[in-house]
């Protein structure tokens, strides 16, 4: 057991990370995100139950049934006045948030380190917690991918969501059954990749951006002796001796990855989502496919890195992937 290791004897290191004022928001995130996920899923479940009930009724009967999980009584107006029914909530929320903020600001001081000194490197040198997902990505990809291409793709990928989701169902209510694919994909990206990468960056990365289990003592003198190799190298091609063959091997492997995942995705999507596939045009479909494969490539690269100690798959004279 790693926890029996003297390195883990007390939770001092973990406490040091958790209690760092700048890390309080991520601790709050660790509570709020699961809570709201549960809160949403609970309502999705209620709505899904309602959908099931409606589906067995015939069309005419289904039409007259109350369609919301919220209670409804005869004689109630469909609308209420914003003043006071919405404004009182807004006022209350503003009050509560302000009180929380004041208490938070009295109890915890904003961090202030020594004056900036270009000659004294901070180790570990961590970005603010909300960027640690990107910083963690720097381990697996070169800066041009992790720092520039991936963030741009995340932003662009989010922007195109409404234009690629052709499913007309689930507009304005929580549901899981009617939107399994879109909610699954989004949750995989937001919870499974973005939040998890941030948690790794905050709680697991220590000096030298090395892997320290939560609670493990941050040994500043630790040296990782792991040697990383490149995939073409494992197959007997080195960039030094045969750059062209190395590049070709990389291109074949990467191309193969894209081809196989595309084929698998196509098979899965046409089987599982025939309605969506029929409705999508080729640009919408190709875009969704591209972003799903790009998203998958991150955990794939993580596995290659951690389990097989592979640094690059593709080596070209200009850049590596």
């Amino acid at each position: 057991m790693i926890l029996a290791d003297p390195m883990f004897a007390d939770g001092a290191q973990l406490w040091e990370i958790v209690s760092l004022p700048d890390n309080i928001p991520i601790v709050i995130l660790l509570v709020l995100v699961p809570f709201y996920t549960w809160y949403a899923l609970r309502q999705a479940k209620q709505n899904d139950k309602l959908i099931d009930e409606l589906q067995v009724l015939d069309a005419k009967e289904a039409k007259t049934k109350h369609r919301k999980v919220q209670s409804h009584q005869k004689g109630w107006d469909e609308q209420v006045h914003v003043w006071p029914y919405l404004l009182r909530i807004e006022f209350l929320v503003a009050l509560i948030v302000t009180v929380i903020l004041i208490v938070w600001s009295i109890v915890l001081d904003a961090p202030l380190e020594e004056p900036a000194n270009p000659n004294l490197t901070m180790n570990p040198s961590k970005a603010p917690w909300y960027f640690l997902g990107l910083q963690e990505m720097l381990v697996y990809f070169d800066p041009w991918i992790a720092g520039v291409v991936m963030p741009s793709l995340i932003v662009f990928g989010l922007i195109i969501v409404p234009y690629c989701d052709v499913n007309p169902l689930g507009n304005g209510y929580y549901t899981w059954k009617q939107r399994k694919f879109s909610i699954g994909t989004f949750s995989f990206g937001f919870l499974g990749l973005w939040c998890v990468m941030i948690i790794i960056g905050v709680f697991i990365r220590g000096p030298g951006w090395m892997w320290f289990w939560p609670g493990e003592f941050w040994d500043h003198h630790r040296i990782d002796n792991e040697t990383f190799r490149h995939l073409p190298e494992l197959l007997g091609f080195t960039q030094k001796e045969s750059p062209i063959s190395t590049a070709l091997v990389g291109l074949i492997v990467l191309g193969g990855f894209v081809a196989v995942t595309s084929a698998l995705f196509h098979r899965f999507f046409t089987k599982a989502k025939p309605e969506a596939y029929a409705k999508m045009n080729i640009i919408q479909y190709a875009t969704v496919q591209f972003f799903v494969i790009t998203m998958i490539s991150l955990p794939v690269k993580m596995v290659l890195w951690h389990m097989f100690k592979i640094k690059y798959v593709l080596q070209l004279p200009w850049f590596n992937i």
Binding site: K68, V69, L87, W144, E275
Partner: protein
Amino acid sequence: MSVTEGPTKTGGKGEKGPPGSLKELVEKSREVPDLLKKPKEKQLWKSVFRHKLDGSPRNRSLAVLTNVFLHLHPARINRDAVKYAFTWGMGGITFLLFVNLTLTGIFLMFYYHPSKGQAFMDILYLTHDVPFGNLLRNMHRWAAHAMVLTVWLHMFRVFLTGSYKKPREFNWVVGIILLVLTLLLSFTGYLLPDDQLGFWAVTVGTNMARATPLLGHEGPFGAELGFTAFNDVRFALLGGSIVDANALLRAYVWHCIAIPVIATVFMIVHFWRIRKDGGISGPAGVVLPREVKGWLPKDKR
């Protein structure tokens, strides 16, 4: 003019003196208690509040419609739309935090010089000497962190309720831009204390810009296109090849003026479009697949 004009008798109480006389002035001043009675029927009150304040439906509507700060709201909304379980209130909280950050930010600006060396001293001054300075700085910091959180949760909620679907597609796009702007605001603010934390975070962050494909001198094809450390995109961000005085000034201007102005413009669009796209998306009644024309595949229709 005759002095006997008017309904007054000579002598006694309530008698008006000749126009312009002291007696008339004293008599006028006796009206003060009457003037203070029923303030709601007086001109001053009516000029500020255009309608009565009782709970009649008409006045409840006017309370919202005649108020510039509230008129982004409709007068009436869907009964279910006030359900906290549906909205989580995250968009509103985000806006509240933005307002809070603007106010605390303005106060902080009174005490801050964006110049190397002085900036750090200003933070020390704020922390230790300025009355409530430490509270002010803490509040600005924690509100900023909280805002990042609430923006994410707002996006999560909007996604899970499918609220980006027709007709709200473009408002989702505006929202993503606001998300990016929020992160940029936070990031530019990080450098301003000019301490080790901010300096290294921004150094690490902007070092990535070096690797921008085509535009960074260490990125793919950057060097081939003639970019060096002194003319690439990182140089443009920092106003130099290292994080120094120019970078501090640039971060300051972006943080305090440029990005807030841009974000405000996008927020105006964001809020406006919520109204124009039919208000909040739900909680709407559920829709069955068979009720959507052309949604089921042909063989199942």
